[in-house]
Subunit: 254 residues, 2 copies
Amino acid sequence: MAGGTSTPGESVLSRSMRLLSAFDADDPYLTLAELSARGGLPLSTTHRLARELTNLGLLDHGRDGRYRIGVRLWEIGGLAPISLELREQAMPLLMRLYDATGENAHLAVLDGHEALYLIRIMGPHAVPTLSRMGGRHPLHTTGVGKALLMTRDEHWLDRFLAQPLERDTTHSITDPAELRAELNRARVRGYATTREEMTLGNVSIAAPLPAVPGLPPAAIGVVTHLDRADENRLAPLVIKAATAVSEVFASARS
Amino acid sequence: MAGGTSTPGESVLSRSMRLLSAFDADDPYLTLAELSARGGLPLSTTHRLARELTNLGLLDHGRDGRYRIGVRLWEIGGLAPISLELREQAMPLLMRLYDATGENAHLAVLDGHEALYLIRIMGPHAVPTLSRMGGRHPLHTTGVGKALLMTRDEHWLDRFLAQPLERDTTHSITDPAELRAELNRARVRGYATTREEMTLGNVSIAAPLPAVPGLPPAAIGVVTHLDRADENRLAPLVIKAATAVSEVFASARS
């Protein structure tokens, strides 16, 4: 997530945001030189800003000399309504889905052209997945992503499909016409599936939440292993959970 | 969490932090006037900074005119090692504890003189608690808090007990000598308990994690209802989980 180069006159906040945005899940620890390079800021500016961000608790500076996102920033972030309300309200219902299935249970919302994961429940017997709370994944290769696509109109899909679809595995659907046909099938039966389209061996089953005014489109899904993917058993549980979470969201807003 | 008054020459970052720190779990939505008052900044400064923070995604500005912590800030916060690593590594083991008990399962770390909750698993049959991920609670009235106190030496406890202990319920232990005696008993048996000291009707059982070099003190606990609090059954499960999580943390660092 390297940024561009700083422009003269750019504000302190904008430059600080370059530094905060330099971190990602693959590289959560960065040296001053890495921060400087990724943020596109001179070393002296980076040093001064990083020191102040550290004093404020937005960054932490480890004994190894590397910077990381600070505990205080994590804590403030937890006050975003998406976490404080949506995630907390949905959690018991996602746990109910977990209780009934023992599988990975996910809640994601649409953000731009990606699925942003609000909840990822991973039990001790669940298959490994790449997802995590606060993580992002493609719409066309994940169960919750396809469920989110089910809620989009043709105009939105036209724009989405104007960009090339990346291939995560040999099973990923990257042909726009094929994906549209897949979404139509999903809409008819009320849920989406993926078969090894993101991770080999994994199958997902997901359903969109009935829309709630004022909230972003959201979806719930489970991820299981190919060998135990019982679609007929799991799909009704997923749809039931999606409906229940939507009702909780709606009643909290009325 | 109202701040003081801004001083002349205070940096843009410091003033921005005042605004971000103006939000708390009780008031996650603030008008411009509220932001200004809580941040201790003039209305014009607040307006200018809030607009820039909104443009950067650190704040969101709702249709109702109120500000809230932005999705982007939540997302960046998730990259803090405390969330990205500790929480993600511990989650499957906390889920195992949940599977075995069906009760609220918590992981908290010591931060200052408070317990900072990294994980709160709340199943559909769990008793209501005040905790949430990213939330803070007192050390002397929560199970994980007392377990964290078990790890502190006399010198640390002297400083902690120099301040008055707040009373959350009539059962809260607020007498320093009584709390010290309670901690000694907890150390002998290897786990801490609370009985309605934070929430009436709730009982908690918690154990400290065996220390891992470089990590803050941490504890795991369950919260259940008084009527079904089987200490002899729950305590060994909690201690087992605490040991397992500590081992996972340690092996991820070696």
